[in-house]
Amino acid sequence: MNLKLIIYNSALLTMIYDLIIIGAGPAGITASVYAARLGLKFLVITKDIGGQAAASGDVENYTGYQFITGPELAAKFEEHLRKFSIELRENEAVIDIKKDDGGIISVKSEKNNYFARAAIVASGKRSRMLNVPGEIEFKNRGLTYCAICDGPLFKGKDVAVIGGGNSALDAVLQLIRIAKRIYIVNIASDFTADKTMLEEVKIAKNVTALHNAKVSAIIGDKFVKAIKLDIQGIDKEISVEGVFVEIGLIPNSEFAPIVARNKHNEIKIDSYNRSDAAGIFAAGDVTDVAEKQIIIAAGEGAKAALSVFKYLAQPGKLTNSGAVRYS
């Protein structure tokens, strides 16, 4: 008996789920609610509950709620999720996903190996890092990726916001009434944020915009004291006590090299949420779906679960795209 067979047999002895859902943001939670209602035997593995929605500010575009905060909406999602008795592995990160010759999908986390006939990757996105010296050292020691969380701690202080898009300008707008002086460090020659935000920022008296500016290091002792910049070849140092990094998001798809991804590392999916590997589906911000919104991620999670249900019933049929009829 070869080793592979032994491993496979022990997998059979442990448990093969119908479905493993990776992530519990809006997409993963909605997929779970659908999977529970469809009676699937499934497992949810996730680092946290609520995903980016839980760290969002005010939400005014989730139908049914004219106004709700991100954490409140995430709490509603969690409540809905926990209404069903589901198997949930919280605070657990997935590090690999594979398929064996028999088509069984194995999901490896930091803690365990799990097996299933199908998987939905709904692991979302995370903040992009600057990758400069001092960034890791000073994280939460003046450097933060969450302006809405930590902004108020910088009352009366000089701060820098790194970025030039909507999330950066959103951070600036939150800080205008809190910080003493705000430097916007933008790597491009102009902002890419929405006009309305730019107009608000322009009239603020305590904001200085630095374009064509690249952060080269974060410096300090116990806490941040300054940032080093490279502005078109000229080195400049600015004294700040706070650094807000808002340079966009990257998909949490590193653990899934088995599926095709686009140049942004988003998992490529079709209109049934299928990746190019049969049995592996994906939903929400980790995918190449056109827009990244809470309501879209939730809808995508529902679609993915329904597709999985049909795939499990007739795997052969669903892999034949175009031949499948969805009710």
């Binding site: 609520g50 839980a54 760290a55 969002s56 500010g57 905060t69 991100g70 954490p71 409140e72 995430a74 709490a75 919280e90 605070n91 939460n140 020691r141 003046g142 933060t144 969450c146 809405i148 969380c149 930590d150 902004g151 108020p152 701690l153 009352k155 939150q174 809190i178 116990k222 806490f223």
Partner: protein
């Protein structure tokens, strides 16, 4: 006897809101310090935790940075 629980938070911080919700759901009484309004409490939090991120929980002297649900449960014995 109930353990003394302090939470250093800001009104806008999502993880603070979730942490407080969690404590309430488990009927844990706590003192809430809004560090965006109270500079001396903000400094106290920074001294205790050696960092500036919120929330920070102080449960009978054990300092927990962030909404680390498992650790909070363990320290509170719930």
């Amino acid at each position: 006897m109930a353990k003394s629980v302090k939470i250093y938070s800001t009104l806008t911080c999502p993880h603070c809101i979730r942490a407080k919700q969690f404590l309430k759901e488990n009927n844990i009484q706590f003192e809430d310090y809004d560090v965006s309004l109270d500079q001396s409490r903000a400094q106290e939090m920074i001294n205790k935790s050696g960092q500036m991120g919120v929330p920070v929980l102080d449960i009978e002297g054990e300092v927990i940075v962030g909404f680390d649900k498992d650790r909070i449960k363990r320290v509170l014995g719930i």
